[in-house]
Symmetry: C3
Subunit: 306 residues, 3 copies
Amino acid sequence: MKTVISASQFTKEDLVRLLEASRKIEEALKSRRQLPLLDEYVLATLFFEPSTRTRLSFESAMHRLGGRVITTVGVQFSSLAKGESLFDTMKMVESYADIVAIRHPLEGASHIAAKTVSIPVINAGDGAGEHPTQALLDLYTINKHKDLSRYIRLAFIGDIRNGRTIHSLLQLMAHFPSELIFISPAELSLPDKYKEMLKQSRIPFQETENIEALLDSDVAYVTRIQEERFTDRSEYEKFKDYYSVDRELIEKSRRGTIVMHPLPRLTEVSTDLDNHPSAVYFEQATNGLYTRMALLLELLNVPLQI
Amino acid sequence: MKTVISASQFTKEDLVRLLEASRKIEEALKSRRQLPLLDEYVLATLFFEPSTRTRLSFESAMHRLGGRVITTVGVQFSSLAKGESLFDTMKMVESYADIVAIRHPLEGASHIAAKTVSIPVINAGDGAGEHPTQALLDLYTINKHKDLSRYIRLAFIGDIRNGRTIHSLLQLMAHFPSELIFISPAELSLPDKYKEMLKQSRIPFQETENIEALLDSDVAYVTRIQEERFTDRSEYEKFKDYYSVDRELIEKSRRGTIVMHPLPRLTEVSTDLDNHPSAVYFEQATNGLYTRMALLLELLNVPLQI
Amino acid sequence: MKTVISASQFTKEDLVRLLEASRKIEEALKSRRQLPLLDEYVLATLFFEPSTRTRLSFESAMHRLGGRVITTVGVQFSSLAKGESLFDTMKMVESYADIVAIRHPLEGASHIAAKTVSIPVINAGDGAGEHPTQALLDLYTINKHKDLSRYIRLAFIGDIRNGRTIHSLLQLMAHFPSELIFISPAELSLPDKYKEMLKQSRIPFQETENIEALLDSDVAYVTRIQEERFTDRSEYEKFKDYYSVDRELIEKSRRGTIVMHPLPRLTEVSTDLDNHPSAVYFEQATNGLYTRMALLLELLNVPLQI
């Protein structure tokens, strides 16, 4: 594995291996703060679009492996402000780092970035495209609570049209016995290309506007209405408070539904769920540390010796 | 000690212990550049309001202890821009770091932050509230030049209403034999709640508009008129050049007054004082390194073994 | 050597020594990722004017030497926003770091900075002034492709009036047998003070508006029209697409001309040159890593023991 650009690139064997590595790392970090396996390596976090959560997660993962980090965020991209191409920027970063995590507002940007350089590139989110490392931590979280080797009903709630974390995760779920439920207003429903993909993978799925459909799921994956992806403000206003998953709703669940969210959240998950046992969204962030550490080691070809 | 939120939380024993630890660290750094006691630890500096001086001081302190740093500043807080609550942001940081230093424009923010997470939290300034680590380095600086076990006359000059470094330091002085002089225009005088506190602690104090009152002090603690705390621009303009402490004034001192300033300064301390022996404000910054190193060790329960 | 402020300060012996150290570092990094010679040192990168390329190059150089980095960029300079002087800012940084690389929009700023503090200061670009570390990496690049001990014809193309990398490099070339060709519109020609310097150093040079003059050079050093230095937008528009060095032009060269560029580039070097053997501009960035590592060691008086 040389790059992580799309969730579609992972084979089932890749996923099983990465989940197992993440599990070992989580186990090891119970008694230690650092696994100094990347002592001499430098990670560049190149965030053309800011994202504190994802950036800090990658940086913390690198530090926990003993590595170094160089970083640049948003408006500080003076070269870009001066009109530099992504190609030239990547050629520069290639000289300074051993591996790069890139977030970019345009779909496909990380693919172009990866083709430009010889060092490993990780897509940390490209516009409304994909966010494969989020998908990996989501999968790891699901597997901790619901056994992936058994049949899982997974409901996605919210902005399914624009939610790149959804687009990435459903591609991973295709490797495991599962059924998907997409709950959203019709205007925010799953893009056709992903429906086609699910049909080809023979993953059963249904679409509904009825939030109560999540009560039949094992996992309710709630997402924020992506304000930044709407060109029409009034359309955003129409949807922003469409759903709110709260304690009252979840307590009606017939399958012990757990509630996930890639965060940040606004009102779509009520804070009255925060200390309910079904809420695993804060744990997701921690799982991101383990899975990103596993990915850094994998991409740099460094064995996980603990 | 699990958090550092307010100067009011320090007992005299805490202060004596921290000053002694800071002194040992200063001594050790005369012959070494690093005390690698926090090799496996990660500090998050979370600056919702920018402050180069304080942030770099914490980061340098962490590096000098061999630790790692992840950081995020101001407008880069994309999660916040997306409407995330401080609670959710803190839950995230808790996953990525072992300790966090937070600056926030709202009074009380760091208290809320500390209640949210299980890792130690340090208040690095909350609005017009407090700045307890500044108070600690101020106390350390005073003790280096004037013996704290003896009676000290400390004059505060400038924006006493909004100066959070003043609010924090006067609470520490309450543990030592001292008398306080507040020199400011009436509009910028000490808030009642601090007057009440001083009365209860039986610390004698006086208020005056006469800058010459500092000539009777051992320590003149000058502060900047806090432009960012004024809602009325014309009020700021009225006060901004109210006082200027200069060499001519200080040379009239009858008690060998030293001049402190938390920096940055504008015109309230004249540059003609910079290389006068009374000027200790540049030394304060260096003292901040030692006291913050002592605090990081204390909060992480790592013994100071040199 | 205590500071690196101007290319004019380097003696020929300095240059020969630094090029040799850079060469050893490049050689060593073929089999290793890090030379941990600055384990206990902290570098501050103080970028009053953003520059991703130069900042990341310094930071990567420090990390590859095992050192630590604290950094602050552009608008985050809250102390400056509050009106702090460069003098006060430097006094602060002196407390927190062992060495500082500074970029500032005003010519001469790094000279003032260096006079303020006792730690080594590196000018990482000051307005339209100088950029001596860029000149060093340029010299290293020239020497890798064309032997500096023999006569070199070096053509500068583009914004010769404002191009600080040009101003710095021509001062270094004065130590080696060379002839300089300045190709630019008359309005963007070499400032008189540099012409005077060349005359005193007895370096032959010519000025022309004819781009084809580069065909007689060994090295064509192309630069971007510096939009940010123009006060008149229409003047910038007039010049911005004045020249474009492309494959067709370079293939007419009679001396195996190599093409250099400090980057970022816009249209002044065509992308159709990117994988032509004459294009060494991407390699320049990598050379910057080696030469900056050599400089950090030199300024901190740490021997290069590999």
